[in-house]
């Protein structure tokens, strides 16, 4: 019966109570914003048969099927599972990992965002925490996926090195750079590292590949974009390997788990305690400890 239903339990399985009694909107698991054509077909069939024939796209690349009768939930989940579609989660746990198309598709991309989103999803998805916890992965400084609005945001970038012998002094990189980090002196390019944001536009535009780029991850912590808005902060330098990256993300989640009060969002914990503790922990993880 609708009024004896444990909605907190249902939320875990991505079922969100609607205004209309006995109905809920069922959230599906979408990793990195991709679904196969056949998964979409399954979603479409389920929405036709059990919902009202439409889906709702969420702001975090998710899909929800509204108007699912709570009494048919098990049946609906079975129909979705048969078509390879899993349900999402709501509530105090790690949410959908979002991603832009990244370097496999987008010419501007510095990192393979989709692969990373899948890896993060496998590592953390659904993990119970004091409050919801969001990861977002974006391929470059263009930030299509808005990394810093997440509890942990990951952005692709490149560490750059100049190979003077390959440079023909064409001047293209100086104009491609949006932070005025490059200038020319005696036919050679001079980099002002304090201005460089690792965007790799110089690498991507140099006709002779005189800029060598090493891809890396720029990580931000404690972002949120709801009732309360805060831009996540970078607390460690650009990370160049996944092992270090996961050590750092593990450290951030552990810090949250150990220090947050129940129902307290990551940013609120950092405001209550100050960010020194987190800084220390993620910097130690960065350094390999």
């Amino acid at each position: 019966m609708a009024d004896t239903i444990n909605y907190a339990e249902l939320k875990k399985g991505g079922f969100m109570k609607q205004k209309q009694k006995g109905f809920g909107s069922l959230r599906l698991a979408v990793v990195g914003g991709n679904l196969t054509a056949s998964q979409i077909k399954t979603v479409s069939e389920v929405a036709e048969k059990y919902g009202k024939g439409y889906v709702h796209m969420t702001s975090r690349q998710g899909i929800e099927i509204p108007f699912i009768n709570v009494n048919q939930l098990a049946e609906v989940k079975a129909a979705l599972a048969a078509g390879g579609v899993k349900t999402g989660v709501c509530g105090p746990r790690v949410r959908t990992v979002t991603a832009c198309q990244g370097s496999e598709i987008c010419p501007s991309g510095c990192i393979d965002t989709y692969t990373l989103a899948k890896e993060l999803d496998e590592r953390y998805f659904g993990r119970e925490l004091p409050h919801k916890f969001k990861f977002g992965v974006t391929g470059c400084q263009n930030n299509c996926l808005k990394a810093e609005e997440n509890d942990v945001g990951i952005k692709g970038g490149m560490e750059i090195a100049y190979k003077e012998s390959a440079c023909i002094g064409c001047g293209v990189c100086i104009k491609a750079c949006r932070t005025d980090a490059l200038s020319i002196a005696d036919g050679k390019i001079v980099l002002d590292e304090s201005k460089c944001n690792n965007c790799a536009r110089c690498v991507k535009s140099c006709p002779t590949d005189a800029w060598e780029g090493t891809p890396g991850y720029i990580v931000s912590f404690g972002g949120t974009f709801g009732n309360f808005v805060y831009k996540g902060e970078e607390l460690v330098p650009i990370i160049k390997d996944k092992e270090t990256l996961f050590r750092v993300t593990d450290a951030a989640i552990e810090y949250f788990e150990e220090n947050a009060k129940p129902s307290e969002r990551f940013r609120k914990t950092l405001e209550r305690l100050g960010d020194e503790g987190l800084k220390k922990k993620v910097r130690a993880a960065y350094a390999g400890q």
Partner: protein, 83 residues
């Protein structure tokens, strides 16, 4: 004003176009050239000069030099490379 010291075969001015037509006009011009010929493209500062050279590179052409005309415009010299 920087003097253009590279010989070119055709010239196109895209300072009157707005994105995305800037690159479209430049692309049409280079498509009409023979392999190895050089195109001079005059463009505005800002987005065009930030992005047009890279778009030529992504299409496989060879960029030779970017000249600052010191009047808010730039001229890019690019050699056509047939795919």
């Amino acid at each position: 004003m920087a003097e253009i010291d590279i010989k070119y075969d055709d010239f196109v001015d895209i300072t009157d176009k707005v994105c995305p037509l800037t690159f479209v006009k430049a692309k049409v011009a280079i498509d009409e050239l023979e392999d190895g010929e050089v195109l001079a493209v005059k463009m505005n500062d800002g987005e065009p000069v930030q992005n047009v050279p890279r778009s030529f590179k992504e299409d496989g052409h060879q960029i030779l030099k970017l000249y600052d005309n010191e009047d808010g415009t730039y001229t890019l010299l690019v050699r056509k490379v047939e795919e």
